[in-house]
Subunit: 267 residues, 2 copies
Amino acid sequence: MAERRLITGFSNPTVKFLRSLRDKKHRKAAGRFLAEGLRLLTDARESGHLPEMLVMSTSRDPHQLLDRLEADVLAAGGEVLELAPDLLAKITGKDNPQAVAGVFTEFDTALTNLDRSAAKIWLVAQALRDPGNLGTMLRTGDAVGAGGLILIDDCADPFSAEAVRASMGAVFTQKIGQARWDEFLPWLRGGAGQLVAASLRDAVDYRSAPYAAPCFLMVGNESRGLPEEYELACDLRVTMPMKGRADSLNAAVAGAVLAYEALAALD
Amino acid sequence: MAERRLITGFSNPTVKFLRSLRDKKHRKAAGRFLAEGLRLLTDARESGHLPEMLVMSTSRDPHQLLDRLEADVLAAGGEVLELAPDLLAKITGKDNPQAVAGVFTEFDTALTNLDRSAAKIWLVAQALRDPGNLGTMLRTGDAVGAGGLILIDDCADPFSAEAVRASMGAVFTQKIGQARWDEFLPWLRGGAGQLVAASLRDAVDYRSAPYAAPCFLMVGNESRGLPEEYELACDLRVTMPMKGRADSLNAAVAGAVLAYEALAALD
């Protein structure tokens, strides 16, 4: 049976590999990403995702959930490593890293993997640049029972440490799609689906809009919003009251307010 | 008439002072904070807030709004400084700083400054640790026409660069209160006001809850939520559907979904 392996030394190739996963380029090359923290790893396990490599700090506190996780990873043929806290800090880039992290295979994000009939609500983000916003949208998607999050054009990487962390485990429960607009639109029109934009243009009030499932709720880039062409291709443009000086909301907030409204209408 | 002053050299005392404002301790000692970017400074000006010191990069592009800002600052007896881009980067701590920043006096955040009858909705956050969440709540408050954001117990600093940035100017339009819980509760009970908690405990559905103005919508700490004692002191506990694995939303998202619901009920 496989055993824990203790790693010492910054120059160990595994440490170098793990550290490289902080970089998008290296994540894509390896097809792997890192998730930190016992809670996140437990959520992953309960959603059917085991890390292929489990990395534990030698200074961790004992925990039943961690024991179970370790046993499952070993049983599945995965690796379990122990590292000194300073090595783990080097890997995660944080002074106070969580005592445990896991290496997962990145999910296939082709649109063809998405079963649109699996949920009434899908979230769509276009050119979303902030990984925290991206993770928050995954988390909101989980809460409203969405099928997943579809990322259009150049978005932040859903497998970055910050997005994974902000998702609070939803990266393991929500489906993730990635596509350019000119792939997404034909895919969408190839089946049932109402495309809804959060918009200020020729829009109906979001409270009385005729949402229809499967409902794809789309928000745009943090600074520029959605391109006009994309809005015009939508079946429905909805707007939220703006009572103050600003003319926009945080993208993740706009998505959440819309998603909860659609949930109330469709549930 | 006052003129622009060109500053060169990292050891200049004004550069040191400006740089020190990245630190909460120094902000509190000086009673000053920094806001970056022409858009933010223009929002501030239009809300009646002029910086006492305007700091411009020598590599800025000319802009009419910047000219107007400069003229207003000088007319009000403020200072205008020009700095090389690398000095500005040192001050803001960013490789690509905005071409302009302003120094503002921190606002008085005593509860006694708040006029609760000025708005139907107030946002309240307890032990909110993430400055991005805090700024996002200010931004949402502006959008729903809230009176302001009241920060209970140890929250992130609303005058930190990250909170100011995430607020998208709302730090200048929303009132900000800061208090311990045992100051806040007597203040609240000293006048009209319904205290509402986002909660999972003995809560009513947020869509059919009897919101009443002035309505104080409270969310808790990112990891721990609200202390039970605080929830029990509320007039109303409301809950949002959680259809997935998670039992909570991002704090700023929960506040926004609630705020838009209360707006629909009270507007």
